[in-house]
């Protein structure tokens, strides 16, 4: 007993050292590739920007003051959050039935359909976005079908509609994967029991299936929302310059206007949005548990 007492702290110490040694590489990588650039970004946001995009020496709060007091940027922030929430909702709406159906297939078909569902991820988002440009363009397939039905097609490309359609499809595989992970908790015997007790299918869904799939649903929503907020290529291509979101604004400020301090400040703002999303997710997860 006394020998065990003497040796245990040493073993713990060794275990701690081994743990630290194992964690050190990933900590180092994170410090170098995430923390240091974020700090650099934050510092850059406190530099001044001169005409033509030159970066001025010295620190100033001018960029942050202009960002926080200009209604234009608040509109972009709210527009980005609203558009991303709408995309998340539509992605959930389209993905949930698919994921539920796949989860109920036999093992062989389930694996095959899972591969089918996530196979779009094998194709670059840029290629898929160009695909949507062809489908939604004035002479594209979708307006053609609407015209064939005797209606006048609305403009589907180079506006918010195009961005929402494109991003919803592009983000569906992420949502489906998260939902499938959540459906693992679903026990079919509970549904059968509810059925034998007289519950109608919708009641079974509302009282059993939906509550049990909430953890996966919340994770999918978080993932989709974060990816929608940070999406850049799809809004840039499908928005036709009209849809200004935080990510496209960062690109324009960094690459076109050359206002790096403002681009840095907007990037920090995106991080704040992500932080808020994580906080909401954490609270909702606690409620679900």
């Amino acid at each position: 007993m006394s020998a065990a007492l003497l040796t245990r702290p040493r073993a713990d110490w060794r275990g701690g050292t081994v743990l630290m040694a194992l964690l050190a590489p990933i900590l180092l990588v994170n410090v170098l590739t995430f923390l240091a650039p974020v700090i650099n970004l934050a510092m850059l946001s406190f530099r001044g920007s001169g005409p033509g995009g030159s970066i001025q020496e010295g620190l100033t709060t001018a960029t942050w003051t202009s960002l926080l007091t200009d209604s234009f940027y608040w509109e972009i922030l709210l527009g980005t959050v609203w558009t991303s929430l709408l995309i998340t909702f539509l992605t959930l709406l389209c993905s949930y039935p698919v994921a539920l159906w796949v989860s109920r297939l036999g093992a062989r078909w389930r694996n095959l359909m899972m591969v089918v569902c996530i196979s779009p991820l094998l194709v670059s988002a840029v290629v898929r976005t160009y695909g949507w440009m062809i489908l939604l363009g004035d002479q594209g397939f979708v307006p053609g079908v609407i015209r064939a039905m005797g209606m006048t097609p609305p403009r589907l490309l180079f506006n918010e509609t195009g961005v929402i359609i494109g991003l919803t499809e592009i983000l569906m595989p992420y949502m489906i994967l998260s939902l499938l992970a959540g459906f693992g908790k679903l026990d079919r015997t509970l549904e059968d029991a509810a059925g034998t007790l007289g519950a109608r299918p919708f009641t079974v869904f509302r009282r059993i299936v939906l509550p049990l799939s909430l953890p996966g649903l919340l994770l999918g929503c978080l993932l989709t929302f974060v990816l929608a907020v940070s999406s850049f290529i799809t809004p840039k291509l499908l928005g036709g310059g009209r849809v200004v979101l935080l990510a496209t604004e960062i690109y324009d400020q960094a690459i076109v206007t050359l206002n790096w301090p403002l681009a840095s400040a907007l990037s920090i703002l995106v991080l704040v949005v992500f932080g808020a999303a994580l906080a909401v997710y954490g609270q909702l997860s606690k409620l679900v548990d």
Binding site: G52, G53, I55, F72, G241, R242, L258
Partner: protein, 356 residues
Amino acid sequence: MVTMFDRRALLLGAAATGVLAAPWVRTAHAQEKTITLMAYTGIFEERYKAAVVDPFMRANPGIKVNYYGSPNSAQSLGMLRAQKAAPQTNLCIMDASVAKAGTDEQLYDAVDNARLPVLAELNPMAIIPGLAGPAVTFDSAVLLYSAAKVKPAPTSWRELWKPEYKGQVGLPAAPDIVGLALTMVADRLAGGTDFIKDPSKGIALVGEMAPSVQTWDPKPDVYSAIISGGLTLGVGWNARGQLFSSQNPDRLGVTLPEEGSVFQINTLNLVKGAPNNDAALAFMAYALGQEAQKSFTEAMFYAPTNAKTQVSAEALARTAATPERMAKMIDVNWIEVAKVRDGITEQWRRRVINRR
């Protein structure tokens, strides 16, 4: 075993030869200087390499030029900023308004006639006060149209405002310089007199055109969008427009409208502190010389900045530098425009792009 022995002997022999030859190999490497030129990617890269870079390397076997393609001037400037502590790029071709920011940040070495005698041959417009590097190409904003759909060829910028083209117009919005160039032209159309002091008339007129615009960000570019039939009218640059039009005469037309246009200037800048800048200066001298200027003008229809360049009549007719076109040019000081660009961009966002 015999094979093994032979192989070993061969390897030993090769190693010994390598060791003995090393000093000479090193000397040969030391004699070859490598420089990096950063300029536009795509068709510009293809044509510039064939017309200027390759002939230069053939004439100067001791200098190797690496061409680094960059999508636009702003990204080139970003790259130069990132390399400021240890520059890897010797020369950079970029738009004059962006080059101003690089000059202000002291990224470039200024060149003068003593270091670069060819500067004396350049058009006076090519030496821009406040910029470290001279102009290497001239271009101008033009009206692009679908040659199949728009007949007869348009002659006025006002074509962009016609209701029959609603939803068929495309151009890159400000802060892209195409958007800025159109604002200057529109300001002139609306009766504005000093674009730098007050661009409001031009912005208001472009705003009236906004509902006709299908996209403010044509992809992959406005020329391809018109060639593919996605757009009917657009605004772009003469050199690229002429090149694509010469390849697709039935699909893309280029016109310099009667109300005039504005020049776009690309400058060639020597990056401060890069290795082998003596070789880079030799390239600058060649690129600004008559031979290279003629060759590139005939390859891509940019107007030469070397005043002594003799260009074929056919190529000259497609450039922005014909006497008739020069007479139509609106006088623009891009350095002054760069100072007000942010304000104009803000106006575009609030009063143009969002208009339906």
